[in-house]
């Protein structure tokens, strides 16, 4: 490569590198240092302390937050991708109905977060919610059901709303991937006597493995970053039953002005997410290599 080419190449990537440094590395470094700093009444008092992490370990709510976050991220991602795969497979079938559905399914994406949260909040309300009243009138429940007020229901109810909101794009991405699977491979499997499930498992799935991995990782990141939906619908309640990392970090930093602890939680959140994604990618890459060596 000529020297001038090298300079040009560096010049071209410089804006991206600068943006990443300014908007990703910089804030991450700032949060990491703040997590190791004692902050008292908004003033930084002493760097190099683990007091924020110790405070988290002693916080009785934090254990519940971790459990709820696991349901939110892992449960949400698993269900979002599983349901998305099912819906995507259905949408991949060529028919007039699926043609319309491919457009209609994006409606939950069009609505703003606040509108979605408020609409679901009222539909699920114990006294006036249409969903509880319908279930009651059909005989599934004797009394009104407060989906958002019942600590046993609230977390999974939030996950259902989350799936309604996030699943359509997952379904469309997987639908596109499924439609790109070569017909001759499926036809060959059919001629070899493979049934529908076997064709899906041994032909379609390996072909869409890359899309499936990408969409799983993206969903996990989306769901981790999702704040408006749980905050507006429950505010972390009742009795912290729906308190997750995103809402608790917000509460610690902007309601309690406890920035050190909030930063410590952000660091833990980042490490957990990075570990899960790394593990997932590692397993998938191994699986791809073994598929390739067969």
């Amino acid at each position: 490569m000529l020297k001038s080419d090298r300079i040009l190449a560096y010049a071209l990537i410089l804006p991206v590198v600068a943006a990443v440094l300014a908007f990703v590395v910089g804030p991450t470094y700032n949060v990491a240092t703040l997590s190791l700093t004692q902050v008292v009444m908004g003033m930084e008092r002493g760097f190099g302390t683990l007091s924020n992490f110790e405070a988290l370990a002693a916080d009785p709510v934090f254990g519940l937050v971790l459990k709820n976050t696991a349901i939110w991220i892992l449960g949400g991602t698993f269900l979002c991708v599983t349901v998305g795969l099912g819906v995507g497979t259905f949408l991949a079938i060529d028919s007039r109905m699926t043609g319309w559905l491919r457009a209609l399914i994006l409606l939950p994406w069009v609505l703003p977060d606040v509108v979605t949260a408020m609409a679901w909040k009222w539909m699920l309300h114990g006294q006036v919610g249409i969903i509880g009243q319908t279930l009651q009138s059909w005989g599934f429940s004797e009394g009104a059901i407060s989906f958002m007020g019942d600590p046993n229901l609230v977390m999974w109810t939030l996950v259902v709303v989350l799936i309604w909101r996030k699943m359509p794009l997952v379904a469309l991405i997987l639908c596109a991937a499924i439609r790109s699977v070569p017909d001759d491979q499926i036809e060959a499997a059919r001629m070899d006597g493979a049934n529908a499930f076997e064709r899906f498992r041994f032909v379609t799935l390996p072909n869409i493995a890359f899309s499936l991995t990408a969409v799983t990782v993206i969903s996990m990141i989306w769901i981790t970053a999702e704040f408006a939906l749980p905050w507006i619908m429950t505010g972390g309640g009742p009795a912290n039953a729906s308190q997750i990392m995103a809402t608790y970090i917000y509460q610690q930093s902007f309601e309690f002005f406890n920035w050190g602890v909030a930063s410590a939680m952000s660091v833990i959140n980042l490490v957990m997410l990075a570990s899960i994604v790394a593990l997932y990618l590692y397993i998938n890459r191994r699986s791809w290599s073994s598929e390739g060596s067969k």
Binding site: G42, A55, H125, P151, F256, N258
Partner: protein
């Protein structure tokens, strides 16, 4: 396009500069330039009228350019904090009285005593002393109040009251339980109270607990006192109402915040509800529903360790000046404008009747007397603010109120007894307070 300066504009500019240099030195102190104002929260009517009166300010102060923004009250802390951290905080912030100690402690707002000069005398003259006090912190005025809200009050459906055979509102906690039971129908609970973690819902409970001699924090000792008998028994009162079968399902109480509770009452879906002093006035009630509001009845024998109060109060439109304001003269001019009777009259019934007015003159208003005769009579008799206290306000108040909110929900849902829930909340909140205060 040419950027060159023509002769006429050159002459205009130089003559204007020359004239300005010849002005007496005193003119430089007159308010001019730009100020930014952030207002947080308020009833729909208040928000509308505030913007209209801002136009009057601009008309009266042609040299001041007003840059006004309105935001939802729920986001005020993060908005103000972010503005402060990034040096973009507005010159004037209109927030809640409960925020004052933290904002002052973090150096976000400045004492008005230092910058208001002789305006202070006029403010004191026009504003009810007890309400004026609500803007004070550590002996200095940090915020100019325009009204206050009081906790706690009880809204009563008059038809339901009469149907149940009562001719007057309840006067004690025992009577509230008795009335609520009698007013309960299969499709309409006798009483509802909001029990989410929204700050107003917690303030409503605090009003009941403080009337029972409870406190959430002892400033002198620095100890969280959520498990004081006054607070525990107030929470037991909530639990008793649920166990009596007089309320909506407990799970519904924990998902329905104050505004929704008011709207359900307005639709005839509950016979009474416990709220702040404005009760249903901001949103009204359905046609055909007759209702009244009374101070929340108190226990016959308060059990708390502190002095029982008649009510707790706080303003939610208190004008504060940022410590980083680049134009404090114009900011004070804006505050002074809002201290005038023409503005304070807004809460005297023209048009807003949901709040307790700060202006002395507003209390002479006939519309206020018609809407809230009991308030006006008590004010005239000098008893309206008797035994009143500010809503909890100190550095770390949000952390304690959050722990209290969780404890209320745990007790309401039957997960823990009030004592156990508040013991746990006390320990958790003390940890947070120690961390924040260092």
């Amino acid at each position: 396009m040419s950027n060159s300066i023509n002769r006429r504009s050159f002459l205009k500019t130089t003559s204007a500069m020359g004239a300005a240099s010849l002005l007496p030195a005193g003119q430089a102190l007159a308010a001019s330039g730009e100020i930014s104002v952030w207002k947080f929260g308020g009833t729909p009517q208040e928000v509308e009228v505030w913007a209209q009166r801002n136009d009057a300010f601009s008309a009266a102060n042609g040299d001041v350019s007003l840059n006004y923004s309105y935001f939802n009250g729920q986001i005020r802390r993060q908005k103000i904090l972010a503005g402060f951290q990034t040096n973009r905080l507005a010159d004037v912030v209109i927030a809640f009285g409960q925020d004052i100690p933290e904002f002052a402690g973090f150096g976000m707002i400045q004492p008005l005593d230092d910058i208001a000069g002789d305006r202070m005398a006029g403010w004191k003259d026009r504003i009810v002393p007890e309400v004026f006090e609500s803007g004070m912190h550590d002996g200095k005025l940090y915020a100019l109040p325009t009204y206050v809200d009081m906790a706690s009050f009880l809204a009563i459906n008059l038809d339901a009251l009469e149907e149940a055979g009562f001719d007057r509102p309840p006067e004690t906690w025992e009577e509230v339980r008795e009335y609520a039971k009698a007013m309960t129908k299969p499709d309409r609970p006798g009483i509802a109270f909001p029990a989410t973690t929204a700050p107003v819902d917690i303030n409503i409970f605090e009003g009941i607990a403080y009337a029972n001699g409870g406190r959430i924090f002892d400033e002198e000792s620095g100890k969280v006192t959520l498990n004081d008998p006054g607070v525990v028994d107030a929470l037991q009162f909530y639990v008793n109402l649920i166990e009596d079968g007089s309320t909506p399902a407990a799970t519904s109480l924990t998902e329905t915040f104050f505004r929704d509770t008011a709207q359900l009452f307005g639709q005839g879906r509950s016979a009474m509800w416990i709220g702040l002093s404005w009760l249903n006035t901001p949103w009204g009630v359905n046609e055909g529903i007759r209702w009244t509001g009374v101070p929340m009845p108190r226990p016959t024998a308060p059990s708390g360790s502190f002095e029982p109060v008649n009510a707790i109060m706080d303003g939610t439109a208190m004008l504060m000046v940022s410590s980083r304001s680049s134009n404090p003269e114009a900011a004070i001019e804006y505050l002074d404008f809002w201290s005038q009777n023409e503005q304070l009259e807004i809460w005297g019934g023209q048009p807003e009747i949901a709040r307790i007015p700060a202006g002395k003159a507003a209390w002479d208003n006939a519309e206020l007397k018609e809407a809230w005769p009991n308030w006006v009579n008590a004010y005239d008799a000098g008893t309206l603010f008797e035994g009143g206290a500010p809503m909890p306000r100190f550095i770390g108040v949000s952390a304690i109120e959050s722990a209290l909110g969780t404890a209320i929900q745990q007790a309401v849902l039957g997960q823990k007894t009030p004592q156990a829930a508040l013991d746990e909340a006390t320990a958790a909140a003390q940890g947070q307070i120690d961390l924040i205060r260092g």
